[in-house]
């Protein structure tokens, strides 16, 4: 790690730790940003590095959300009665119960989607190209439709997550969720960064570039594809669990398995930043979130129209993303040796 990088990381860390105190009004927005970055990074693992473009990672996100909330409630109170009582609270978590429940819930929210990814991975990751994309799209929508019919987790009327206990100041809730999501982000970043410096990443890239050739080279592609998807599912579930607590209310198709919002956002963020790069999803998510918040307030009601146009424009004009554009512009910064003559010739050709 070079000295420049070290300074950059330290600056981001300090900024991240100080952010809720510098911008106290934007704590919730910053927490959502952290969750979005985590989602973009996880999507990038199998969408960008492995070349398996999934629309269905929302499955793990929603699963994590429901699991975390159900465990948090179910550990202390009967779950069915909780969902039946809806908004009017008959049960109240003590602070100790809330945090214990949250901790166990987050572990479950991370582990179960990982196992699910492992189980369905063998059958689904055998599909290629558009079959995989549509299959995962179907999986995400099916999960939303089916969870909307299950009574114990609130069916169509939704599920209220336990409210934050009354401790200390009024700011405690925002700060708790901000630091929770920020540390999840750091954890994700460190994990993904260390994964990307191993042979594993090269194998994923080999699968992306030519799967049959990778298999012919003696790589057990299926094994690595499943592991890649499981890593993705782990952090996706974790992000979902945090988001459930942050939003405070879970609905099957509008919050948890919201393929029209989160499911597309994570794909879009990764593409906007640049697929298959470490920093791309992070930059993409940040830009996207700022852009989105602007749109959502100025074009209230028209946000999905803007989203649709945004998708089309990004996909048609910036398929390589911000990182890809930077790479084209300043290849030297990315450690590529540039033959000036060749480059000029190419520019002339264009």
């Amino acid at each position: 790690m070079s000295k420049n990088n070290l300074i950059l990381y330290a600056a981001i860390l300090v900024f991240g730790l100080a952010a809720p105190f510098i911008f106290p009004a934007f704590k919730v927005q910053l927490s959502i940003l952290c969750v979005l970055i985590v989602l973009a990074i996880t999507w990038n693992i199998q969408g960008g590095e492995m070349g398996y473009n999934s629309f269905g990672n929302i499955l793990f996100y929603g699963l994590g959300m429901y699991l975390c909330a159900s465990v948090q409630v179910g550990m202390f109170f009967p779950l069915a009665e909780w969902t039946e009582s809806g908004g009017e609270k008959t049960f109240v978590h003590t602070p100790a119960q809330f945090f214990q429940g949250m901790a166990v819930g987050l572990v479950v929210a991370a582990v179960v989607p990982t196992i699910v990814a492992g189980l369905i991975g063998y059958s689904i990751l055998g599909l290629r190209g558009h079959y995989f994309a549509i299959c995962t799209l179907g999986l995400g929508v099916a999960a939303g439709e089916i969870s909307g019919g299950i009574e114990i987790i609130g069916a169509g009327q939704g599920f209220t997550t336990p409210p934050f206990p009354n401790i200390g100041s009024l700011e405690a809730r925002g700060e708790f969720f901000y630091f929770l999501s920020f540390f999840t982000l750091i954890l994700t970043f460190i994990a993904v960064r260390s994964i990307y410096s191993t042979r594993f990443k090269l194998i994923l890239n080999a699968i992306r570039d030519n799967e049959d050739k990778a298999e012919a080279m003696g790589i057990e592609t299926m094994k690595y594809k499943i592991i890649g998807w499981m890593i993705s599912a782990f952090f996706c579930g974790l992000a979902g669990g945090i988001m459930g607590g942050l939003v405070g209310y879970i609905d099957s198709t509008d919050v948890a398995f919201d393929g029209r919002e989160m499911g597309v956002f994570m794909v879009l963020m990764a593409i906007l930043g640049g697929k298959g790069t470490l920093w791309g999803p992070i930059i993409g998510a940040t830009v996207f979130h700022i852009f989105k918040e602007g749109f959502w307030t100025f074009f209230l009601g028209w946000q999905y129209v803007a989203l649709g146009v945004l998708i089309i424009v990004i996909v048609i004009y910036f398929p390589e993303g911000i990182m890809g554009w930077l790479r084209e512009k300043y290849p030297e910064r990315f450690g590529e040796v540039v033959d000036e003559k060749d480059r000029k010739a190419q520019v002339e050709l264009k």
Partner: protein, 297 residues
């Protein structure tokens, strides 16, 4: 009500007939999807939204006092130009690109259409009442709305017309040539750009017909598009590209499956079961293909 299907055989007959009539309509949409998949190698996620848009055209005719059945003629004409417009604006930029790019771009179109329809027509579930009455069969144990029979008849009519058009006309020949080998067709003087635009337009027109029929027989709602896309995708992968009898058969099979899922699991799981069936079919297909690959080894 759970297992009514097994206790009263008439309900089984009812579900089968309903399913078959429904399935013919699905097959029409799937035929459009197969056409553009085969020719342009694009999977159009916005297929279902085009159907719904066609439905709204018929619904508005109904509101202004024209019989919605005329929508079957008006909707495809309007939708043809909508299709050409979409092609000129978006699709022609993604035709030769990565498949995922085209899926995502059409997904964007789908979200855009969904929302624009929501603004323009409101978020209510609506239907265009054709006033065709019903037909009773088997001592009035089986009740079939005439509108469903009408829709199945019109679907078959349009499918047959299109097949004949594809076989006989010059444009049809050009489309088939492009589907077989776009480069060779180009060399031999086919203007593939025009063929692509026409294909997309024809697909949109088919969606318009199907949408008008949907608005007569069922209900339409701005957000109900995606299930139609998934259904037609499923029908196409089960039948294979360019296999018209297969498309019709698997369309009817899907219709019957849906009716039974509706009766046995309950209406709230109907759409969910369609999506799950898609996943199961794809997984089955994957294992079948991998077995084939092992033989080759």
């Amino acid at each position: 009500m759970d297992f009514l299907v097994f206790q009263y055989p008439m309900i089984t007959v009812q579900a089968c007939l309903d399913g078959i009539l429904l399935g013919i309509l699905f097959a029409l949409i799937a035929y459009g999807m197969a056409l553009q998949w085969g020719v342009m190698n694009i999977i159009n996620i916005a297929q279902g939204d085009l159907v719904i848009l066609g439905g709204y055209i018929a619904y508005f005719m109904y509101l202004y006092g024209i019989h919605p059945a005329w929508g079957v003629i008006v909707a495809p004409i309007i939708m043809y130009f909508v299709g050409i417009g979409i092609y000129k604006l978006v699709i022609n930029k993604v035709v030769d690109r990565d498949l995922f790019i085209s899926i995502l771009a059409t997904f964007g179109i789908s979200i855009l259409f969904m929302q624009l329809m929501n603004f323009a027509f409101g978020a209510d579930v609506v239907l265009a009442n054709s006033g065709y009455g019903t037909t009773m069969l088997f001592d009035s144990n089986v009740v079939l709305p005439n509108s469903k029979i009408f829709s199945a008849f019109i679907s078959i009519l349009f499918a047959v017309c299109l097949v004949i058009y594809m076989k006989k006309s010059k444009l049809g020949r050009a489309i088939r040539a492009t589907a077989q080998n776009a480069r060779a067709a180009k060399i031999l003087g086919v203007d593939t750009e025009k063929v692509y635009a026409a294909t997309f337009g024809i697909n949109a027109a088919l969606c318009g017909v199907a949408g008008a029929l949907v608005s007569i027989t069922f209900t339409i709602h701005p957000y109900m598009g995606l299930p139609y896309t998934i259904r037609s995708f499923m029908i196409v992968i089960v039948a294979g590209l360019g296999n018209l009898p297969g498309v019709a058969m698997s369309g009817m099979g899907l219709g019957v499956f849906e009716e039974f899922a509706d009766y046995i699991l309950g209406t709230e799981f109907r759409i969910g079961s369609v999506f799950l069936l898609l996943v199961l079919i794809l997984v089955y297909r994957r294992f079948k293909l991998s077995k084939k690959r092992e033989y080759l080894k």
